[in-house]
Amino acid sequence: MEVKVMKDILGENDDIASKIHGMLSGKKIFTINLMGSPGSGKTTLLEQTMKALNGELRMAVIEGDLFTSKDADRISKYGVPVVQINTTGGCHLEAPMVEKVLAKLDLDNTDLLVIENVGNLVCPAEFAIGEDEKVVVLSVTEGNDKPMKYPLIFKESAVSVINKIDLVPYTDFDVNQAVDDITTIHPSARVLSVSCRTGEGIDGWLDYLREGVKRKRG
């Protein structure tokens, strides 16, 4: 017999993600899901963020990584509370993994929660983990063809950060083409060009975070 189902395959994940989002919103925490390729500069962007916003905003970080705590070690040097999730080979974070570690953070004293996903331009895009917004980091050395090759992650991300902009003169990276492609896939996306090494454009990124935190406080 054929039984009609019409159920979302990732429904269970989405339900837990909604629950997390509701809980974090209740505490007025602005939460971002930070995604991008390995080596695109996600952790370096976080380091720049902590340097600039320490004392201004109360941050907490959840670090997703396959096996190591290398990124979490980098974060903890800044005195920001950080929890490590090791996916032991898993290529993306899922909502139940985040739910499990939330109790380790002092969420009553947090304004901004950054969840750094596993480095990957494919799988993380499909899994909500309780965030307000997804952010994707694309670095100049990856090439400007990446938005069209991995459209889903750019479609899902409210913000696309083009990092390593200081390297543009040494590559064939066409910034205008990258921005055009991102805004074709996602017309309302905010595209920020930054260099985490020189600090260029970081102010625009910080303003985005400040706006998000302000919006959540209401």
Partner: protein
């Protein structure tokens, strides 16, 4: 490779429905997969085959129906297929809001 997570999601739904309907064997599972769903079909079928071995869905076929990526313009209201991931309305420059094409859904289960 998140197709194993997706296969696990399907099997979870299949087991729930089989139990509710007192079924002991699943012949096929109908899926709706959107054109812009982040899933590699070959990889999903491979994961599914290895995952269901020894379960009531052993040997069950995945019958996959692709759902085209269709959007509605938020400005002129026209509905059309979205080509080349271009979400800008070719008629008026408005933004195409996705109506279908992101599905990852179990449509039906054929069980005995």
């Amino acid at each position: 490779m998140h197709e194993m997570s997706i296969a696990e999601g399907i099997l979870g739904i299949v087991k729930d429905y089989a139990e509710q309907n007192d079924a002991s064997k699943v012949a096929s599972v109908g899926l709706l997969i959107g054109e812009m769903a982040g899933v590699e079909i070959d990889s999903l079928e491979f994961c599914w085959k290895s995952l269901v071995r020894g379960t009531l869905a052993d040997g069950a076929e995945l019958v996959i129906e692709r759902v085209p990526l269709v959007g509605t313009c938020d400005s002129c209201g026209k509905e059309r297929h979205i080509e080349h991931y271009n979400f800008i309305c070719p008629d008026c420059g408005g933004t195409m809001i996705v109506k279908s094409g992101r599905e990852l859904r179990v449509n039906y289960i054929d069980m005995e």
